[in-house]
């Protein structure tokens, strides 16, 4: 039987407001533990939440970018559970009346657009940070104590829930990368996985290809990079398929993916079924986003990355277009003159590899350099690219260093190389023509990369046929 993966995502994006969602403590990193706390976010008796208007607006803007409807009336609910990182004993979140719902997000793909349903995008507060200390590995299981820092507690998050519309790890990765770039370009979040300002859980199930049933799903928590997520999904798909093929049943559970062990052990089983006892937050009044506000936010949306990918794909192919846009390099790409595909390749491969900040590059100079790529030694080109972000960079300085294409200069080197590799030369002559590249590489090395590779291979071919 052939199996179809069914994948849905729950993404948490930390909003880039200056203050927390329900108090006016500064949010963000860098302060000493518990230095960004107040009676409200520490849940001192009698304190009350007051929503951050900007956080509401950012959520609406993000919802609009995801094609959602903005609710005429939205309500905050309390989600009740006990944990030391939750100061009030409940999280203020949204439940059956979220701010945004019913969206659709298109991800350009090789087989047409991938349409991902957005079930909802709602606003909620983040929990604080627990540090589990002591014990063998300092892991949750063996800790001797837990230390709590409430600085993050109460930071605004948008939770985005997709439909079960993704059907491979690669689709999930492409969706997430595009979503991330969208969020960043809207200016509502830094969405950096390393800092935890973008986090996601993955719901995974499989079904026989062609069927439309939804089977028991498992939840992969704590994904800390797109690559690990893809790996984790692949592994979980294999596990579920093996279970079904062995005649078993998948059990609904939450798995904690540990990239170092490349395994996903189940989280500690809950002592009782979770019952969050949602109730409408009586300390807050409903949100009723005025039409003018929603329309103003809609009008302020920039051109979204998905549209730019579609536009670029026609010139440079989907993969490069996707890479350029989701890395934010397409802004530079648009301004660098020259062959589109060549420019895209250089930007995505060499320039990225050299670690140059694309925003510091002079596009005209970079264009000149790329245009001369075939005419200057490879090492010189590399050197030039690496310094292309420096102030005052000019391509001119490097263009003078023409490649060695003079046969009289190259022949002695070629002779030396052939003499040193007689066996390979014999093999070539016996028909192993693939060895040409080997000789070209040797000559380039001998010349410190300054030889013109095209001339070298021509001369080599002549010499070897002789």
């Amino acid at each position: 039987m052939s199996w179809e993966p069914v994948i849905g995502l729950e993404i948490h994006v930390q909003l880039k407001t200056r203050t927390k969602l329900f108090c006016r403590c500064e949010s963000g990193f860098g302060a000493a533990e518990n230095a960004r706390t107040c009676p409200v976010c520490l849940a001192h008796p009698g304190t009350l939440p007051v929503p951050n208007r900007l956080a509401v607006e950012m959520t609406i803007q993000l919802g609009l970018a995801l094609g959602c409807e903005v609710a005429e009336r939205a309500v905050f609910h309390r989600k009740n559970y006990f944990y030391p990182d939750l100061s009030k004993g409940y999280q203020i979140s949204q439940y059956d009346e979220p701010l945004c719902s019913g969206g659709r997000f298109s991800v350009p793909g090789p087989a047409g657009d991938l349409e991902v349903g957005i079930v909802r995008a709602h606003l909620e507060e983040d929990a604080a940070k627990n540090v589990h200390v002591g014990g063998a590995e300092g892991r949750i299981g063996g800790a001797t104590r837990t230390l709590v820092d409430f600085n993050r507690g109460g930071t605004p998050l948008v939770e985005i829930v997709t439909g079960p519309d993704l059907h491979s790890a690669d689709e999930a990765r492409r969706f997430l990368q595009l979503l991330r770039q969208t969020v960043v370009e809207l200016g509502v979040s830094d969405a950096e996985m390393e800092k935890g300002t973008l986090r996601f859980d993955v719901n995974v199930s499989v079904r026989p290809r062609g069927s439309s049933e939804l089977r028991t799903r498992t939840e992969l928590k704590n994904m800390n990079s797109f690559a690990f997520a893809a790996k984790g999904i692949e592994r979980e798909l294999e596990r579920q398929i093996a279970i079904y093929e062995g005649g078993g049943e998948v059990v609904q559970e939450t798995l904690h993916f540990d990239p170092s062990r490349e395994s996903a052990p189940p989280l500690r089983s809950k002592e009782e079924a979770q019952d969050y006892r949602y109730l409408p937050e009586p300390d807050l009044v409903p949100l009723a986003p005025p039409v003018e506000l929603v329309e103003r936010l809609r009008a302020s949306l920039p051109e979204l990355p998905a549209a730019r990918i579609r536009r670029l794909a026609a010139d440079v192919g989907l993969e490069l277009a996707e890479g350029l846009v989701t890395s934010g390099r397409d802004a530079l790409f648009d301004r660098v003159p020259g062959d589109r595909r060549m420019v895209a390749n250089v930007l995505m491969n060499q320039l990225a590899g050299a670690g140059v900040d694309p925003t510091s590059v002079d596009p005209a100079e970079l264009g000149k350099l790329i245009e001369a790529r075939g005419r200057i030694p490879r090492s010189v080109f590399g050197e030039a690219l690496a310094s292309s972000g420096e102030p005052g960079f000019t391509a001119e300085r490097y263009l003078g260093e023409a490649a060695i294409s003079d046969a009289s200069a190259l022949d002695p080197v070629i002779e030396r190389v052939l003499a040193a590799n007689e066996a390979q030369a014999a093999a070539y002559r016996a028909g192993k023509e693939g060895l040409l590249g080997f000789f070209v590489g040797q000559v380039l090395r001998e010349t410190g990369g300054k030889a013109d590779a095209r001339v070298v291979s021509e001369r080599l071919r002549e010499r070897l046929q002789a």
Binding site: T17, R18, T19, R24, C25, E26, A32, E33, N34, A35, R36, T37, C38, P39, L42, H44, V50, P51, N52, R53, L54, A55, V56, R73, V75, F82, Y83, P84, D85, N130, V131, H132, G134, G135, I140, A143, T144, R145, T146, L147, V148, D149, F150, E271, E272, D275, R277, P280, P282, L284, V285, P286, L287, A288, P289, P290
Partner: protein, 93 residues
């Protein structure tokens, strides 16, 4: 509407309350009597009636995104039953 021993224990667990056996029985009796009385609301057919979450009909009450001073760490931790450095300390979670 009687409530069972098991339900009392379940609710106490959800609410993080430890009860002795005697307490479980006493609360079971009292809660059963109270639930019997409050269960009266079920008599009314209220389909089509909107719930009242709040006596005042307000909406869009919010504050601008402008930082106000936080507590200093001494104040934040002043009431903590236990601490370690600038952290609140609790038994392992």
């Amino acid at each position: 509407m009687a409530i069972s021993r098991g339900e009392v224990l379940h609710v106490a667990r959800l609410a993080r309350l430890e009860l002795s056996d005697a307490e479980v029985e006493r609360f079971r009796e009292q809660l059963s009597a109270i639930l019997e009385a409050v269960g009266k609301v079920a008599e009314l057919d209220l389909s089509g009636v909107e719930p009242t979450a709040h006596p005042l009909e307000l909406s869009n009450v919010w504050a601008e995104d402008e930082p106000q001073p936080s507590l200093d760490a001494g104040e934040a931790l002043a009431s903590a039953p236990d601490r370690e450095g600038h952290f609140f300390r609790v038994p392992p979670a």
